[in-house]
Point group: C2
Chain length 273, copies 2
């Protein structure tokens, strides 16, 4: 960071500005302001690269500005406001124990299901009643890695904009469209109407993911970590599909299951297409 | 639990017995006693089913004894000592915030690499310098689900017997052999000597897991979460293999990467065999 910015470093962890950032750890404040908190250099880097116009402010300690000079450079090039802050100020702002000296505030501008469907997606994942922030974030990261076209999240799932979910996505939140607040039944109907098959993951299903055609457009539907999909939602999907368990494990965790499904699909679609 | 046991319920969270269980949260005490702590009904159930003779004691609250009567029944049938304890006693013993009213102490009797190799394994995973307990446990769970023959863990990785790792395995620690304390270089040599190809996972590798023959016996070698495998260890493996990233994610997390590799292998070996 240019040295001429240093005199303006934020030093008071109890200032109104700091309190306003800290408050974004609460869902109510994110809803009221439409703003979210992105912590750590990796998240901030991906935010600037892929959602630069949404950045409101970047906060960085002097040490982190040296260490992650590339990210600060990207931020300044993108015209972001970059503020130097002391370690106590960063710590007061952050939800994470160790935000690595850098965080950003951004406008949260989620895409709509209509815009996702209009783009003719071939691979989607829909999370419904997913409650664990780490799981939700890891599903988004896995969907990104597998080249999925978007992630859909039901209105009764964990809040995707919570700092813990944002951290778990490792920047993937800004790499692909993540649609939130969806009604699950209406979404299943909309997917079917657009020729996208809906595949419910269900441990006890008779068919495995090796028994279904994954080359055509489809959406994996993932239920709650503990109890899976409610029967009526599983029944509303075009097929119920199990991941084979070859050993003695009872199940895979949600993020692992989603990643295996999405990678199997990506492999099939690339081989088939 | 039979009502005649209730009069002997443990009620003092500061008793020597409780302190001795609590102390198993520390590595030094696990090493000194050769005992480990297994928390929650799922872990205790799998411990009793698959490693019954190693169980030293089972502790359960009255509420959990009603709720998980099947596990208590299994424990009594297996001849385990089952002790009723109050909620404060369970809370004092446990490492977890919520052990769901049940935990067990067991002897830890890990298998040796020699015994694993003597069984003619076809699919293995070796973790080296893995530091996060949740990652390590999830790799063990994924290896179990994928039907791997064993998990190998280097001496510079997280302690597999720590309560957090044990919890993350969701019982899989007792489903397949988990060999610990291994020297990585010596293990790679031993695997090669037994005709087991060693495949280093490496983000930048030229070959992907779709370019290698996975039908023959092999071991996936997973490095540290942040920096991967040291170059000299990657070079010592028979091949360096990348998981293809189809989107914009920089990488997958360790547990996801291991699970994808192991499932791809399991699918290939079952199709090929």
């Amino acid at each position: 960071m240019p040295s001429e910015r240093r005199p303006s470093a934020l030093t008071n962890p109890r200032s109104d500005r700091v309190r306003a950032v800290t408050a974004l750890g609460r869902r109510s404040m994110r809803s009221a302001t439409g703003r979210i908190l992105i912590e750590g250099p990796q998240g901030v880097r991906e935010l600037i690269r892929y959602a630069g116009p949404t950045v409101v402010d970047v906060y960085v300690t002097a040490a982190a500005a040296d260490r992650y000079a590339d990210v600060v450079g990207d931020a300044l090039s993108a015209g972001c406001y970059v503020h130097e802050a002391t370690e106590p100020v960063l710590a007061a702002m952050a939800d994470a124990q160790a935000p690595q000296g850098m965080l950003a505030v951004a406008q949260w501008a989620p895409p709509t299901l209509e815009s996702v469907l209009a783009a003719g997606p071939r691979l989607l994942v829909l999370m419904t009643q997913v409650r664990d922030p780490g799981n939700a974030g890891t599903v988004i990261r896995g969907a990104d890695a597998a080249g999925a076209d978007a992630v859909l999240v039901s209105d009764n799932s964990v809040d995707i904009t919570s700092p813990k979910v944002v951290r778990s996505t490792a920047g993937s939140l800004f790499h692909l469209p993540v649609v939130t607040g969806l009604d699950t039944s209406a979404t299943l109907a909309a997917l079917s109407a657009h020729g996208i098959r809906t595949l419910a993951t269900e441990g006890g299903a008779a068919r495995t993911l090796h028994d279904v055609d994954l080359t055509t457009p489809h959406a994996w539907v993932m239920g709650n970590e503990a109890w899976g999909l409610p029967p009526e939602l599983a029944a509303a999907c075009d097929a119920r599909v199990a991941i084979p368990i070859y050993g003695r494990a009872e199940s895979l965790n949600l993020a692992m299951a989603a990643t295996i499904c999405l990678y199997t699909s990506a492999t099939a679609q690339r081989a088939g297409g």
